[in-house]
């Protein structure tokens, strides 16, 4: 039997009155991968996530979670996933332990199981020393850790993270990434939304680029980068004259775009063979570069090339 994808959504749309927030989006998320919904603010990422987690009813389209229909089996499907981040929340008036315990009970654990699982998660997320303190004393990082630990109570197969690192300092963000990677190693499927390209690049196996409610690109980070931007070769020469001469020699070797600024020359190229040709031509022309850099395209290039944003 072919295993069902973790998530399969088809022509998913959401309208708020006249405004279309999500417009016929379709994609599959495979079991065990990290899938990132990337896009500028207001692009519709969170709306998609809210539909995937049963918080919003789609206007049209279908969603399947591990082969279960989300609309017809919503209560049962909720036991398959956990949600953490921007929209999920912790109970401010309770302690970390009480938060974990009540949510354990709500997840169907018995009192005894709830107590054990709570202890386990408090230790796993290094919250054990603050377990019985009220959340008012918690730092932003501790709050996120508690939030994440609550969503992991029932050991869900799928975990949704809504902007998991927004507003966190670099160290806490690094820790969060580490935790997410551990989750994936343990076999969990992770779907996250982010507006940070670096985050998507670091974590995701596949990225769906969303803008104005539409799916504008879908693929691996590598594929997306290659689709939009080619690699760049940066050459620095001793002086401007040499650089100008080099431009001619390079142009003969490749049909990529050649640009000169002062004593620097930028060449875009697609195949590594091009570099050999360029360097051979330079040698023939008796020009030698002081410095050579090869620049991989960044997701930033993709982001700016493909999204407009709301502003």
């Amino acid at each position: 039997m072919k295993t069902a994808p973790a998530i399969a959504i088809q022509t998913l749309s959401k309208k708020f009155g006249q405004q279309t927030a999500v417009d016929r989006v379709s994609f599959n998320v495979e079991v065990g991968e990290v899938f990132a919904l990337l896009g500028p603010n207001g692009a519709g990422k969170t709306t998609i996530l809210r539909m995937l987690t049963t918080l919003l009813k789609p206007t049209s389209g279908t969603i399947q979670v591990l082969g279960h229909n989300l609309q017809s089996e919503s209560q049962a499907v909720r036991s398959l996933f956990g949600l953490a981040g921007q929209y999920a929340s912790v109970d401010e008036d309770l302690t970390a332990r009480e938060n974990l315990q009540t949510f354990s009970l709500l997840n169907g654990l018995t009192f005894r199981e709830a107590r054990l699982r709570t202890q386990e998660l408090l230790e796993e997320f290094s919250l054990i020393n603050s377990a019985d303190k009220l959340l008012a004393t918690f730092s932003g990082g501790m709050r996120r850790r508690l939030d994440l630990s609550i969503s992991l109570i029932a050991r869900p197969k799928i975990i949704f993270l809504d902007e998991p690192t927004t507003g966190l300092d670099p160290r806490t963000r690094e820790q969060m990434w580490k935790t997410i990677r551990q989750l994936v190693q343990a076999g969990t499927t992770v779907i996250l939304t982010t507006q940070y390209l670096e985050e998507a690049d670091q974590l995701a196996d596949h990225i769906a680029l969303i803008d104005h409610g539409k799916l504008v690109a879908l693929g691996t980070p590598q594929a997306l980068k290659e689709k939009i931007a080619s690699k760049k070769l940066n050459l620095t020469f001793q002086n401007e004259l040499q650089a100008t001469q080099a431009v001619q020699a390079i142009a003969e070797a490749t049909n990529g775009i050649v640009q000169q600024t002062d004593n620097m020359v930028n060449v875009s190229f697609n195949e590594v063979d091009d570099i050999t040709k360029i360097l051979t031509n330079l040698q023939v022309a008796k020009l030698s570069a002081n410095d050579i850099q090869i620049k991989q395209p960044s997701l930033d290039d993709v982001f700016f090339a493909m999204t407009v944003g709301k502003n």
Binding site: T54, L94, L105
Partner: protein, 256 residues
Amino acid sequence: MLETHKTSIFKSTLTMAYRNLLKTLHNPDKLLDVVIQPILFMLLFGYLFSGAIAGNVYAYLPTLVPGILMQSLISAATGSGTQISDDFSTGIFNRLKTLPIPQVAPLAGQLLADILRLLIAATVSLTTGYLMGWRPAAGLGWAILVVILDVFLGWALSWIFALYGLFAKSSTMVESISLMTMLLLVFLSNAFVPVKTLPPFMKILVELNPVSYVINASRTILNAGFWPTSAWIVLGAGIVIISIFAPLTVLVYKRK
């Protein structure tokens, strides 16, 4: 096929009520309105107005105690609206809605916990009255019956406030509107003053006010020791309110 599960309505509702209890334990100030307020009003009204209205405190207490009882219960009932509105603005309901529990469980848990608040408010009101010298003429048994009747009506009212809590923009707004509603309902009734002293147009308003019915029924039971027709009307009204507002609140809650 993957195993899925559901948590029963019974267990999830109890857990939600337990959560409510924990919240109150950590923030005892949430009980201020059901503990301090009845005491304050009973003392203020008892000693301030008794001379003018009834001659002395002992003569006024049989009128006042059922009035304060109802006032405290309406005040306690407004708490459900504030709490629900609070939970929505902090986003905790979003998480609750992604759990494998029946959708209505958080709401049901809230209203279950409300019964406790109402019982506290009733107990504090009557105890304060007792300490001031009030004795139910019909005896303790009838007094307990009045508490049950009034708490039931208060609970019915908390469904209305819960519905309002779902619509309101912020819990502060729920609080101020609820306070106004409570003041109007209680003061435009026979809770604190004899109706015969009122000008004609006020008399009409007061006699139309449902709170007057409840208080009348309570006084009759406490003083005369029998179950009057007005008590049946109150009971019926409570059932009607619940059968309209409970499904309506649940419906709005589910769509939110």
